[in-house]
Symmetry: C2
Subunit: 272 residues, 2 copies
Amino acid sequence: MDLFNHDNYGNISQHKHYTTLATQNMGFPLLILVATIATAVAFPTNNLVMPHGRLADSAACLSWRWAVETNNIKDFSNKVPEECADYVLSYMLGSQFRRDSKLVCDVAYEYAKGVNLTRDGKDVWIFDVDDTILSCLPYFLEQGSWDLNVQTTYGTWTRKGEAQAIPETLDLYKKVMELGFKIVFITGMHEKDSESRIKNLQEAGFTEWDKLMFKGDNELAYAEEFKSNRRRELVEAGYRIWGNIGDQWSDLIGTFVGDRIFKMPNPMYYVP
Amino acid sequence: MDLFNHDNYGNISQHKHYTTLATQNMGFPLLILVATIATAVAFPTNNLVMPHGRLADSAACLSWRWAVETNNIKDFSNKVPEECADYVLSYMLGSQFRRDSKLVCDVAYEYAKGVNLTRDGKDVWIFDVDDTILSCLPYFLEQGSWDLNVQTTYGTWTRKGEAQAIPETLDLYKKVMELGFKIVFITGMHEKDSESRIKNLQEAGFTEWDKLMFKGDNELAYAEEFKSNRRRELVEAGYRIWGNIGDQWSDLIGTFVGDRIFKMPNPMYYVP
């Protein structure tokens, strides 16, 4: 499945499973309905996209998404509210996720163009990996729920190395490299899985980087601490961190966060 | 005008100027239309709510609001995009702003209930004032644009001391006081205007506090620095900052931010 084979925001014209969405400028409830039916056909065992008996209250779910994205609601992993399951699916598969991703990447690029680079190889831009540059949405679609089972199915899925590039951050990656930034990827994946991660990055179009930093196989720290530690290593090695983009606030808070942080949209799960 | 004389989210039943909104469960475009017409009648010279010649692209403005609330888009003060002016008005006057405010206050109260208070008079909850507990929306409605003219019309308006309580934070204020937190207000208003501010707070229902901290009359620091300094004074005096709620990220970042921060919605302006 090619999730992101479309770049017309609001018009999923080349999406293999959702071509019926392409020809109409339709409202939100219809989008949910069509996405639900189409996905139920494509994934007959998919609980995630089966109707839940009552329609999502989109105003309540819009509030919920706002509260998650502003980091007011924390630690909801494994529990996207059941009444917002369809709403989140519609958000992720529809145009709004792409719009939001494009807007933050546009803002990031505007910032990047204004940075006065020293060009000594020490000016870096940090990218988180999962759901910042590689999309884990297919995992949830395959699984048929928003449960993030890190120790079991999710780990297995990510180790397959089949995550797809998010087009907006792939574009930002290329453009900040062109400007002269060095690329640093900091991923929560463990070092023992580096081979599949490298293969996945390369196949998704992320072919060059200055550093690819993993979590140590025995490192127990939460993301905020572990990522702060990796950034400290960079700063102590003389790197200047300018932009830092991630889908989780734990990518972006802590210490040595960089000159400017950029939050990618992700209402699917929370990583502390 | 009583902006917030309604607490049924989605049903502005007692709003003086928008009673026509009350009786129908209507869609977003119709809400914009009715609000536009009703407000244009109520404020005939109001440029803000006059039609702008083209309909707002609500998906694009939803993205814009998301990017503002996540602090991806900064420093847009005095320039809510013209194409989103109606969208922001609809958001603020409709139910979504109230829903978002209620959700963050509910989350904050859940957190507050879990804090193990020492009860030595040193456990504090910090509230920002403008557009956290007192709404400045009437200023924008009177002015007829989203321009925030801090040095002129906005200063004059706030010194009148007629801002209204935001019901959700008034409720949170009462409830955290009941739990035993001491209340600290940190406002960007200058000390020389303390009299009108105190009168406004009291008339709006905020009748008790432990500290009300102003910006010094000659203090030039931006909000992030000035508020960090006030919080440092609290911590150095032995206070423990638990919750800290504000509508601007500059209320919530910097140093000594507190154990947990809460972001109130505000797509109207940006304070660095």
